[in-house]
């Protein structure tokens, strides 16, 4: 089973992963195989089953509205690959 190549390229666009032409075939074979594997679930009867998104049986704990001045701009920008003044910088975006 192969994963349709156009769909694969579309997924690449969505997830911002460039897929080189020479990798396209092997990747579509890999994904096809994974897809076939996970398709096993389709045969399971789940009509009256609630989905579980987290196994922890607890309601959300809330914090108080206290503003803390924990991090300086220097600290936040410390690992930035590119920064200007106290800003992160990226290639020009035209809106």
């Amino acid at each position: 089973m192969e994963f349709d190549k156009d769909s694969l390229l579309k997924l690449g666009k969505l997830s911002k992963i460039k897929i080189d032409d020479d990798k396209l075939s092997s990747l579509s074979a890999d994904l096809g195989s994974i897809l076939k594997f996970i398709d096993r679930l389709q045969s399971i009867e789940t009509d009256n089953v609630d989905p579980t998104s987290n196994s922890l049986d607890q309601s959300l704990v809330m914090r108080d509205d206290i503003a803390l001045d924990e991090n300086s701009a220097t600290e936040i920008l410390e690992n930035a690959p590119d920064k200007e003044l106290d800003f992160f910088s990226v290639p020009k975006v035209i809106e």
Partner: protein, 476 residues
């Protein structure tokens, strides 16, 4: 209706929640500090960072929901909305998709004395994005994450509006309610409240047309003109046989036109799914009741009370309560004073000055106690209405109290009987012939004597006392 076409309008309002810290992190929400200085490790999406929800933001959303007559959901879910953008550090926005915190509600708007009910579809909590600066460098875009993670309430209306006026009234009303509740400061210029407007047109009786969404409108004026422009654009297209593309458009404030957002190179697919870092948000009825008990008087209730207590008409009451600060100002001035006089002074004199100077009531050059003092002077007859207007003008310019101005300029009315009697005597002595004519039955001359006496007093004579005095002198 425009040229026989019906408009269908739905609005999404993004209102920044008033809180000290962000929705899922402890950094401050203050405006105006240096770039990236109010960014926590969570806001910058550092590896391994996790969101923890701000209880007060939840409370604010519940409070807003109550103010919008809406159902508060006991259980709601936070979802991730996935997309890449430079101002979205996590690569997803935490929002609520399927199960929002607030469900169906409504508000009433009044237009031309007609009340119309506008449905609210939902209100949900979500994170704001950071800010991009495109004009600092020819080749780079700068990103400031101070705003990243601030709590927003997205309030979605039903497509219940059918004109630009209604749309503006709706946004005004929602803003007014949020400001009464103190859940959002409603400052549109700063972007604390912005609207995305969905517009479609159709012929009466026909099915709904394709809608376009105009994003990020941050003034009533823009909302109004964007809708008009967009409706006309759609009508023109349809009438010339073309079809409408469902799309997102931007409003250009310089040209007054809407234009299609440069379509992104790939179609959006936000891949919403429940955020596995957060558990379901559960809100007990007990807490909802507690919050309910703290809800202040809202515009509609206040309007009814003003009409009843102060005998205001619908229109004036509506204008005064539309803004909480204005209604507070009004109530402070009207205390122990004549509502009629106070209403006139607030709605005509004060409002015209504020409009002219483009000021909010909080920035009024005339504080409520000063206006009260002026009205006291009118009520006691110390100054005439005409003089009061001059004094008011002076108060606006110089910020002085009416007492100071009256004293400085000697503007106080002459109500002293001795002084007035002297005035009257002088006038009568100077015009013996007219006195005689009057006594012989020429009643019309009474006005002449009043005029002369006024002239002599430089307009300061108390007209009521002057009249009485003249009458008694001339009739003896």
């Amino acid at each position: 209706m425009i040229n026989g076409w019906e408009l269908v309008i739905g609005i999404e309002i993004h209102a920044q929640v008033k809180s000290n810290s962000k929705l899922f992190s402890s950094s401050s929400t203050d405006f105006g500090s240096g770039p990236n200085s109010q960014v926590s490790l969570v806001d910058a999406a550092m590896p391994g960072m996790l969101p923890v929800i701000n209880k007060f933001c939840v409370e604010q959303a519940v409070r807003s929901g109550i103010g919008l007559n809406a159902k508060i959901n006991n259980k709601s879910i936070f979802d991730r909305k996935n997309y890449f953008y430079q101002d979205l550090p996590q690569g997803y926005q935490i929002s609520q998709f399927k199960d929002p915190i607030v469900g169906n509600g409504f508000i009433d708007i009044v237009l031309d004395d007609q009340t119309k009910r506008i449905g609210i579809e939902r209100l949900h909590l979500e994170q704001d994005a950071g800010k991009s600066l495109h004009d600092q460098d020819p080749n780079l875009t700068f990103v400031d994450l101070n705003r990243s993670g601030i709590a927003l309430m997205e309030i979605v209306s039903k497509p219940d509006m059918s004109s630009a006026d209604e749309a503006v009234e709706y946004v005004k009303k929602v803003r007014s309610i949020l400001r009464y509740l103190d859940t959002c400061d409603g400052n549109m210029e700063q972007g604390s409240l912005r609207a995305d407007v969905n517009v479609s047109v159709n012929k009466p009786g026909n099915e709904l047309g394709t809608r376009c969404e105009i994003k990020n409108l941050n003034s009533f004026k823009y909302i109004h003109s964007a809708i008009i422009y967009e409706a006309k654009r759609q009508i023109k297209l349809i009438e010339s046989g073309e079809s409408i593309n469902q799309e997102t458009r931007l409003y250009n404030i310089d040209t007054g036109e809407t234009h299609s957002m440069r379509s992104k190179e790939d179609a959006h697919d936000y891949r919403y799914f429940p955020d596995p870092d957060l558990l379901p948000l559960e809100i007990e009825n007990k807490w909802i009741e507690e919050i309910k008990s703290t809800i202040p008087e809202l515009p509609d209730q206040k309007k009814n009370r003003f009409i009843k207590d102060y005998n205001l008409n619908e229109y004036d009451a509506g204008v005064i309560v539309s803004d909480k600060a204005t209604s507070d100002y009004y109530e402070k001035v009207v205390k122990n004073r004549s509502p009629k006089l106070v209403t006139t002074w607030v709605t005509s004199e004060l409002f015209s000055v504020l409009n002219k100077k483009n000021l909010s009531i909080d920035e009024s050059p005339v504080a409520y106690d000063k206006l009260g003092e002026l009205i006291d002077n009118i009520e006691s007859g110390k100054v005439s209405n005409r003089l009061a207007k001059d004094i008011f003008e002076e108060m606006c310019e110089m910020g002085k109290s009416p007492g100071e101005i009256i004293a400085e300029k000697g503007l106080s009315q002459i109500s002293d009987e001795g002084e007035l009697e002297k005035l009257v005597n002088d006038v009568l002595i100077a015009n013996p012939k007219n006195v005689e004519k009057y006594k012989n039955g020429k009643d019309k001359l009474f006005g002449f004597f009043v005029g002369e006496a006024m002239k002599l007093s430089k307009g300061k004579a108390n007209p009521k006392l002057l009249n009485e005095l003249l009458k008694s002198k001339l009739n003896t």
